[in-house]
C-alpha cells in the first residue's frame, strides 16, 4: 500500500491550552468537546500534553488516597504544568500514517501532536484515529 499522509486522518486545529491553566479547566474542556487528549501550548508551540485518562487516574488516586498525597487536596486547582507530559514527541505534517504507527509502538504512546515546519501545532493523531482508519479499511 502506498504511504498515506498523516494530514489525511489527523484532527486539524485541535484545541489546546496554556500550561498555567488549572486541571479542572482542562477536564471541563475535554468533557465539553468529547476529546481525550489536550496539547499544552505556549503560543502555538507544543510544550506538553495531557490525556483524560491521566487526569481521571490522578483524580481517582486523590479521591481514594487523600492521606497519602504529597501535594494535598488542591488537585483540581493545580496547574497543568505540574502533571502534563512535558515536551511530547511530535510528528511533522509531512509524515505518513506509517511513521505514526512506528513512533507510537516504539515510544509506547497513544497520541502524537502534529506540527508544521515552524513547530507550530496543526493537528493531533491518536491510536483511536488509526484504529478507525483500519476499521474503515476492512469494512
Amino acid at each position: 500500500m502506498k504511504p498515506i499522509a498523516i494530514t489525511e486522518i489527523m484532527t486539524k486545529k485541535p484545541l489546546s491550552v496554556h500550561p498555567k491553566e488549572e486541571i479542572s479547566f482542562a477536564v471541563q474542556l475535554m468533557k465539553q468537546n468529547a476529546i481525550h487528549h489536550l496539547p499544552i501550548t505556549v503560543g502555538q508551540k507544543v510544550v506538553g500534553i495531557v490525556s483524560m485518562g491521566d487526569l481521571l487516574f490522578l483524580q481517582n488516586c486523590v479521591n481514594q488516597n487523600k492521606d497519602m498525597f504529597l501535594k494535598g487536596t488542591n488537585f483540581q486547582l493545580s496547574a497543568l504544568d505540574e502533571i502534563m507530559t512535558k515536551n511530547p514527541i511530535c510528528l511533522t505534517n509531512n509524515s505518513f500514517i506509517q511513521d505514526a504507527v512506528l513512533e507510537m509502538q516504539e515510544s509506547r504512546i497513544n497520541c502524537l501532536p502534529i506540527v508544521d515546519e515552524n513547530k507550530n501545532l496543526v493537528g493531533i493523531v491518536t491510536t483511536h484515529d488509526l484504529i478507525q482508519f483500519l476499521g474503515n479499511l476492512y469494512n
Binding site: L58, Q64, V101, L130, L137
Partner: protein, 131 residues
C-alpha cells in the same frame, strides 16, 4: 493484507509479568526495569486476572503519592475489557473501535494468557505493510 480472521494468539504478547493483588509497589517495581514491559497483570490468589497496571500509571502515581504506601489496589485499572483466547484479530479490532481502552488482556479460564495493546495491534498491521 493481514487476515483478520486469524487467532488473536498470532499477534498477542505472551510475555506477561504478574503481581499479586495487594502487593506493595516497592516489592514489585523491580520487575519492570529489566524488560521492555509496559503492563503488569494483577492476579488474585487463584491466579485469576483482577486488574492491570501500566508503567505510565506507576510513573504518574509516584509523582503524587507517597511511594512507600502504594499497593496494586491504588493504581490498577479494574474496569477491564478482556477477550477470550479463542478470539480473532477482528474481535480485537471491534473492541478497540467500540472502546477507548488501550490494553486488552486475553484470558483463558479467568487467567491472563496474553495482552494486546492498541499500539502493538497497529504495529502488527504495519509489519504486514498495511497500516
Amino acid at each position: 493484507m493481514l487476515d483478520i480472521k486469524k487467532s488473536i494468539q498470532t499477534i498477542m504478547s505472551e510475555d506477561l509479568i504478574t503481581v499479586l493483588e495487594g502487593a506493595q509497589l516497592k516489592h514489585f517495581e523491580y520487575k519492570l526495569t529489566p524488560r521492555k514491559i509496559h503492563h503488569l497483570i494483577v492476579e488474585n490468589l487463584q491466579g485469576e486476572l483482577v486488574g492491570i497496571i501500566s508503567t505510565e500509571d506507576i510513573a504518574k502515581a509516584t509523582s503524587w503519592i507517597v511511594e512507600d504506601k502504594i499497593t496494586t489496589q491504588h493504581i490498577m485499572s479494574k474496569d477491564l475489557i478482556t477477550l477470550p483466547h479463542t478470539a480473532s484479530i477482528k474481535d480485537v479490532l471491534l473492541k478497540l473501535l467500540e472502546n477507548k481502552h488501550r490494553a486488552i488482556p486475553i484470558i483463558k479460564n479467568k487467567k491472563a494468557v496474553g495482552i494486546v495493546t492498541a499500539y502493538d495491534f497497529l504495529y502488527s498491521f504495519y509489519l504486514d505493510k498495511i497500516a
